[in-house]
């Protein structure tokens, strides 16, 4: 097993390297100088040159990349052009908020997705199956930022039950697990949960239907095992894949939360990215994308290893 983990680490390294190159080049995709947004229009050439030298923009690209990578590997993501604070600090705070939101959403999506998937897989072509299928199509087709707005319209603007935006009553940027903060996470988490719910329901339905059609289920029933006993076998067979998809969905939600975080003004990475883009704060943009992408790579790796550990049918090649 340890050997397998090592092998996977080796294959993931070039990908991580590639990701860092893409993140680095992002800044240079941008039209104009990365500093043009912060420098006043009447800055003298001397000031511009000094700033360029201070940020290292005067050196050739490969050298800039090497210097940047060296700093990144030491946990230094640079300094935000807009606020002057270290990017790592800003991103770190935001990532925690995003992670909380994405985890709660994944949990909700997983619970309902698995439930609908099992019901649909067990009762193929029944009304419940149709409802579950419709829900999963809804989940992948609905523009989630719009769903968020609709929920705000219904539960905040009309009924007044839940707060429309923010992460807490004090307006502070840190979410805590108490009753007041809980009310704030419900709407964004439910909105976010709809996508993984649809995908998980669809996958689990196919999985369960496939498992139920296999010979060993027939054999279990033939030997007189109770339906609950058979159910336990189905669960054990479906679990590795379902859990793997849950893990991947968490990664997608974390990276794709920007639209929902914008709708709900949730103080996470999406919100930070939004600010970085519109203030043309390129180090912040670069840093937050790098952190999110690396998180996604790491999560993929963990999911892969977990799945191999859980499912003896997968060869550790």
């Amino acid at each position: 097993m340890l050997l397998y983990i090592l092998k996977r680490l080796v294959t993931v390294t070039p990908v991580a390297f590639g990701v860092s190159i893409v993140c680095f080049l992002l800044v240079h995709l941008a039209p104009g100088d990365p500093l043009s947004a912060v420098l006043p229009a009447d800055a003298t050439q001397q000031t511009i040159d000094e700033m360029r030298a201070a940020y290292g923009f005067d050196k050739p690209l490969p050298i800039q990349y090497a210097i940047w990578l060296w700093h990144v590997l030491h946990g230094d993501l640079g300094v935000s052009i807009a606020t002057g604070r270290p990017v790592a600090q800003e991103v770190g705070r935001a990532v925690i908020n995003s992670l909380i939101l994405a985890s709660v959403a994944t949990l909700i999506g997983f619970t309902f997705g698995v439930f609908f998937g099992f019901v649909a897989g067990y009762r193929r072509n029944s009304i419940l199956d149709r409802v579950a299928s419709a829900l999963s199509v809804f989940g992948v087709s609905v523009p989630h930022y719009w769903l968020g707005m609709v929920l705000v319209i219904v539960f905040s603007a009309t009924l007044g039950w839940l707060p429309p935006t923010g992460a807490g009553p004090d307006g502070s940027g840190n979410w805590r697990p108490d009753f007041d903060h809980l009310r704030y996470i419900i709407l964004p988490a439910v909105t976010m949960a709809v996508i993984p719910m649809g995908i998980i329901a669809r996958t689990v339905r196919a999985l369960v239907a496939d498992i139920l059609s296999q010979d060993f289920v027939e054999a279990l029933r033939a030997k007189g095992l109770s339906e609950f006993g058979v159910f336990k076998h189905v669960v054990r067979n479906a679990a590795p894949t379902a859990l793997a998809i849950m893990g991947l969905q968490l990664g997608y939600l974390l990276g794709g939360s920007i639209l929902i975080e914008t709708v709900f003004a949730w103080p996470g990475t999406g919100f930070l990215l939004n600010a970085a883009i519109f203030q043309r704060d390129l180090p912040l943009l670069q840093g937050s994308i790098l952190v999110l992408a690396m998180f996604f790579v790491a999560l993929n790796l963990i999911v892969d290893v977990m799945q191999t550990a859980l499912d003896p049918r997968i060869e550790r090649a």
């Binding site: 199509v137 719009w146 707005m149 609709v150 794709g256 390129l282 996604f296 993929n300």
Partner: protein, 307 residues
């Protein structure tokens, strides 16, 4: 699949006793796409979705001539009229412009920005994937490992990161969405192509002296394009949502051009005054997106592709 062959040879022999085979031979003679079309027509959900898509495309094409009112002309006195208003059938927006006219004209940009990236990515991604899958070896390794890097970004993040770096605008949005879909289509194209490159008919073509390019164009393309196409149609729904999402964030279309995502964004301020009108553009995105999804699902089962 031998049915058409036997039926054909029987017909050549002039043997009339083969009559019981006739209906089967008739169906087979439609050819593959005829088959797909036949199954699709009998799938009510896919047909309904297809008809909806056709209607929306027709509205998008005709909108400059059929909008009931000027979609750009606002009136401060008639802001945020409710749905069912005598003049404004679907209400008016935050600047007093007619919603139904703007929704109709907005379908142009929303559809264009949703479909174009998938079309371009379909061409580029198929090219990369088929090349990697057919040539194999080092070419495959280099191309596919590069593609793996792009898979390390969740698609929403990649789209927003690229648009954010390139700057707002219709062209930049299309470029960044294309970059999101090329790796996904290339990966599917590569796996389908790898699956058929060892088949006998490829060897037969090689032995007959066909060049590598001819084999890729005729034998490979003909056999892999179906699955790649179906996969690509399933991306249109995501692309619509993402394209409007970019405009929603202010990274796509700029005001006063009507686009559903942008309209949704500017109407956010109106959710307390006139929530139904504020939600309309999103409903439009949703209807088109779900239609593309259902149609793509129907196409998949009509082509009997297992996913």
């Amino acid at each position: 699949m031998t049915a058409p062959l036997t039926a054909g040879s029987v017909a050549l022999d002039g043997n009339i006793t083969a009559a019981p085979d006739a209906p089967e031979a008739f169906i087979a003679s439609r050819g593959f796409w005829g088959h797909v079309g036949h199954r699709l027509v009998r799938d009510p959900v896919a047909m309904a979705a297809g008809i909806l898509i056709v209607i929306v495309i027709a509205i998008a094409i005709l909108s400059p001539w059929i909008t009931p009112m000027d979609p750009y002309k606002g009136s401060m006195l008639r802001r945020l009229k409710p749905v069912g208003d005598a003049t404004y059938w679907l209400g008016s927006d935050e600047l007093g412009r007619d919603m139904i006219s703007r929704l109709m004209l907005g379908s142009r940009l929303s559809l264009f920005m949703g479909v174009t990236p998938v079309l371009i990515a379909f061409v580029i991604g198929s090219g990369i994937g088929i090349l990697a899958g057919y040539v194999g070896g080092w070419t495959n390794t280099i191309l596919m490992r590069t593609i793996d890097v792009f898979f390390a970004f969740p698609s929403v993040l990649l789209a927003i990161a690229l648009s954010g770096a390139l700057g707002a605008g219709i062209f930049n949005s299309i470029v960044s969405l294309t970059c999101v879909f090329v790796p996904q289509i290339a990966r599917v194209a590569e796996s389908v192509t790898t699956g058929i490159r060892r088949r006998d008919y490829i060897d037969a073509a090689k032995l007959s002296g066909a060049s590598a390019f001819t084999i890729m164009r005729v034998q490979v393309l003909g056999n892999v394009i179906g699955p790649i196409f179906v996969y690509s149609t399933s991306l249109i729904s995501v692309s619509m949502i993402l394209a409007s999402g970019l405009s929603f964030l202010g990274l796509g279309v700029r005001p006063p051009e009507p686009e559903w995502g942008l309209m949704l964004n500017t109407l956010r301020t109106a959710i307390y005054v006139n929530p139904v009108v504020a939600a309309l553009p999103g409903l439009a995105i949703f209807i088109v997106s779900i239609s593309f999804n259902l149609f793509s699902d129907g196409l998949r089962s009509a082509m009997e592709i297992r996913q």
